[in-house]
């Protein structure tokens, strides 16, 4: 079951956030975003320092209630999917979202300013269509 999707840029701005299932209400979306970005930033730094090999990246973490899947690009974009703990690694899905949805609809869109939240419905529609078509969406 896929719970949500987040997209952050290099400066910590949450470019896009979508929730398909959430049981608890959150205090403030902004605080939630900052917290999540902080966690991702620290995890990345922590993983590279602790790793026995050079150039190891953080892919996901799992708790009893959920799993967080992560993919980032050298250009600083951070793609995140939260799912239930039984879903296998969705890194390839995140890569697909980056190359086929983000690049085509956001990077190439002249009306979309860099560094600002994603506006317009194209990205949202394509993303929803893709995520809802995954077999893991309802399980």
């Amino acid at each position: 079951m896929i719970f949500g999707f987040y997209l952050f840029n290099r400066d910590g701005i949450c470019l896009y956030h979508e929730e398909w299932k959430r049981s608890r209400t959150v205090s403030s979306r902004e605080d939630n975003h900052k917290l999540l970005f902080g966690l991702l930033f620290m995890m990345k730094a922590f993983v590279s320092k602790l790793s026995p090999k050079d150039g190891c990246e953080f892919h996901s973490f799992k708790t009893a209630a959920f799993k967080l899947h992560y993919f980032d690009t050298p250009s600083g974009l951070k793609f995140v999917l939260t799912t239930d703990d039984k879903t296998p690694n969705l890194r390839d899905c995140l890569k697909h979202i980056y190359s086929s949805i983000y690049v085509e609809l956001v990077a190439k869109s002249p009306s979309q300013e860099i560094g600002k939240q994603i506006e317009g419905s194209h990205f949202s529609q394509s993303l929803n269509k893709y995520v809802q078509s995954l077999s893991y969406f309802q399980s």
């Binding site: 290099r10 250009s75 690049v103 190439k108 860099i114």
Partner: protein, 188 residues
């Protein structure tokens, strides 16, 4: 050519074959019309070159994501890798240009890109009063914008241009600064 350059060349060819293509004459003529318009507006060759570079900068900031997503290149270990990636993958994939890297300095902070051909130059002749115009200056902006998004600040300029009468086209890239990813929020 080193093995790594060969690999990048293959990656560049594969990426080029997957890209949507547009008629090169259409591109050359459209670009030429745009430069003509800029010349009418600004009249000064140096200012037009600056405007082209600025446009290139905006393009580069977005182009980098397309390159990273579609070309299947791994992270660059040093600036020389970056040079080879731009030459073999970047120029090939987006413009079909075969480029090579030359004149890498000892510290690995400067390099030159030699372009075998340049479709933007097709049908172009620079008049006398625009002899200083860097016609393809947009490339310099693209390189600067793209590299800034991957934490490298560079200065990019044309060292030689066939349109100006030189025998080849050469772009010089100098690494000014490597930027570090900083945590953007003040308190945790």
């Amino acid at each position: 050519m080193s093995q790594q350059a060969k690999n990048l060349q293959r990656a560049g060819d594969i990426a080029f074959s997957k890209m949507e293509k547009v008629n090169s004459e259409l591109l050359s003529l459209t670009y030429g019309a745009m430069v003509s318009q800029l010349v009418k507006e600004f009249e000064d060759a140096a200012e037009v070159s600056r405007q082209l570079e600025k446009m290139g900068y905006s393009i580069g900031q977005r182009l980098i994501d397309e390159l990273l997503a579609k070309a299947n290149v791994s992270a660059c270990e040093d600036f020389k890798d970056t040079a080879q990636t731009i030459a073999k993958v970047g120029f090939k994939m987006f413009m079909g240009i075969n480029a090579s890297v030359a004149n890498v300095n000892e510290e690995g902070t400067e390099f030159s890109l030699l372009l075998e051909d340049n479709p933007l130059n097709d049908f172009v002749e620079l008049p006398e009063h625009l002899a200083d115009l860097r016609y393809s200056c947009i490339y310099c902006g693209v390189i600067r914008g793209a590299l800034e998004m991957v934490n490298m600040r560079v200065e990019c300029s044309f060292a030689k241009d066939v349109l100006a009468g030189d025998d080849s086209t050469e772009i010089k890239v100098i690494l000014v600064d490597k930027l570090e990813d900083e945590f953007p929020f003040k308190d945790a």
